[in-house]
């Protein structure tokens, strides 16, 4: 981490004792949120890749490949799938999807996950196997943001424009397709005419004049045909280029819609729960329940006002890093974005069961301002978690985010 010490004297310092904190001061509200499948969070590991099959065949293939040749529980395997989306839904319209009843939401948004890990403290001891199962769903899914609605309207307008031009293309194409034949016909008539004209001019055969005149008329007709086919060909090329451009616009709008789909406006409520089992030494007979986890994540977003409020409740039992204690984490963050400037306030509370000394809360207000070239200024102020000595340090930082990670102007004390 780069430290710009010259600025340190100008800025408020981060103050805390030399004792290490009982609760990581890096614990933020985002750390409590589910960033992947809940089954993976229950194991407290990061899988290299989460398998998300969306067909029955892919699901079976994933499960078979996970077991491997030895049939043992794999290390670092994670799968999440939503049964509803394993099959096709030719009658499900986008309108039905966004105006779903509670029962429909449970079908659309419920996903099940499984994760496994193996670990051993000694090479000589068979590795323990941990397996977790979890489910999550959206009880409320909000509604499409105003930007997304506008994007979808633009998509529909472009689609109608596309169809109108496509229809014209369909009617013009047959005329353009006869260009080659028309050119050959013209060529034949030109050659014949040339021969006939020469004969009429140099010879005495007067009867050839009628034939020449007929050929002349056919040549003129062929010329007109070629001209029409060429014009149609130009029109086809012009329309195809327009359609290609429209397809490009549609693709960009579609990608934008897919991104907006993940950030609905209004009230959303996600519920997740799961359990973890431990197989000591990897043996089936030595199985025991190893903990549960429950996550509740309500969120309210009003994108036109740039306001977002998110709350998190997380309950975990037998947490490794807390000496197998049970823990209840609560958090809430309200944020307001006004163009280049953003202001947010965050509060996180950790309750460790039967150990008040390790229960504490943290709050912070964060201000950030976007500078040119993807650089932003970040300042925060608040109160950190209570330390072992009973003190609650002040958090006061000022830093610059270079877009590749934060560079702190004031170093974090240790």
């Amino acid at each position: 981490m780069t430290v710009l010490s010259a600025l340190v004297v100008l800025l408020p310092m981060r103050i805390w004792s030399q004792d290490g904190p009982d609760i990581s001061s890096e614990l933020r509200l985002d750390d409590l949120r589910l960033s992947g499948p809940p089954a993976l969070s229950l194991l407290g590991i990061a899988a290299s890749a989460v398998t998300r099959p969306n067909t029955p065949r892919a699901l079976i293939a994933s499960l078979i490949s996970a077991t491997g040749e030895s049939g043992l529980v794999p290390d670092g395997y994670s799968l999440e799938t939503s049964p509803y989306w394993l099959v096709r839904h030719p009658a499900l319209t986008i309108k039905d999807y966004y105006h779903a009843s509670l029962g429909e939401r449970l079908r659309y948004f419920t996903a099940f996950s499984v994760a496994t890990s193996r670990s051993s403290r000694h090479d000589s001891v068979p590795a323990d196997a941990r397996v977790s199962f979890a489910a999550r769903t959206l009880l409320f899914n909000g509604h499409p943001s105003r930007v997304m609605t506008a994007t979808l309207d633009s998509v529909r307008q472009l689609q109608v424009t596309y169809i109108t031009r496509y229809r014209v293309l369909e009617s013009v194409k047959p005329s353009a397709s006869g260009l080659g034949a028309a050119r050959r016909r013209l060529e034949r008539n030109e050659e014949l005419l040339s021969t006939l004209v020469t004969k009429v001019l140099v010879g005495p055969e007067r009867e050839l004049r009628d034939s020449t005149l007929r050929t002349l008329a056919r040549r003129d007709s062929a010329r007109a045909q070629v001209a029409r086919a060429e014009a149609a060909g130009d029109e086809v090329a012009r329309l195809e280029k327009q359609l290609e451009t429209l397809e490009g616009y549609l693709a960009r709008f579609a990608e934008n819609t897919a991104e907006r789909d993940a950030e609905p406006d209004g009230f959303t409520l996600e519920l997740a729960a799961g359990m973890r089992a431990l197989f000591a030494g990897g043996e089936w007979d030595r199985e025991r329940a190893d903990g549960i986890g429950v996550w509740v994540t309500p969120m309210y977003r009003v994108s036109p006002s740039h306001v977002e409020v998110i709350g998190i409740g997380r309950y975990l039992t037998r947490v490794d890093e807390l000496d197998e204690s049970d823990v209840l984490d609560l958090g809430v963050r309200a944020g307001w974005d006004a163009g280049k400037a953003g202001l947010s306030a965050e509060w996180v509370r950790r309750n460790v069961r039967d150990d008040d000394s390790r229960s504490s809360s943290r709050w912070a207000a964060v201000f950030d301002y976007k500078l040119p070239a993807r650089v932003s200024l970040v300042a925060s102020f608040g109160s950190d978690f209570r330390r072992a000595d009973g003190k609650r340090p002040v958090v006061a930082t000022l830093g610059i985010n270079l877009g590749i990670g934060a560079v702190m102007l004031v170093p974090a004390g240790k």
């Binding site: 096709r88 979808l152 689609q159 293309l169």
Partner: protein, 118 residues
């Protein structure tokens, strides 16, 4: 170059009642339609319970529906269009499925219905 449409073509037996058309764009994708009766465009956009006219006046005409579907789903690109015609001798529901050539691409669906007397 524009891809070939996914084509569905069939006859539809009319009666003396009003014929109505609904186009369903499924698979949670977004699509718009333009409806032609012979060479006349009669509607565009979302088509739901669109009155086309009395069956006896539609006899011999051709109904052509162009529906462009755009893939807006990140994980899957399945597409489906269902044409539902009612008011004739029988209610007809025909579904065609397809996929775009590339991610977030679009695919044209074309339904052609020949109105015929029973």
């Amino acid at each position: 170059m524009a891809r070939k449409p996914v084509l569905h073509e069939q006859d539809y037996e009319v009666s003396d009642r009003a014929i109505r058309l609904t186009v369903v764009v499924g698979e949670r994708q977004v699509g718009s339609s333009v409806v032609f009766l012979d060479d006349d465009a009669v509607a565009n956009g979302d088509v739901e319970d669109l009155p086309l006219g009395d069956g006896d006046r539609l006899d011999g005409k051709i109904l052509t529906i162009y529906t462009l579907v755009t893939d807006i789903r990140r994980d899957v690109d399945d597409m489906a269009v269902t044409w539902i015609l009612g008011g004739g001798r029988h209610r007809v529901s025909a579904t065609a499925t397809g996929t775009p050539a590339k991610k977030f691409g679009s695919q044209m669906f074309k339904g052609i219905f020949h109105f015929v007397s029973p």
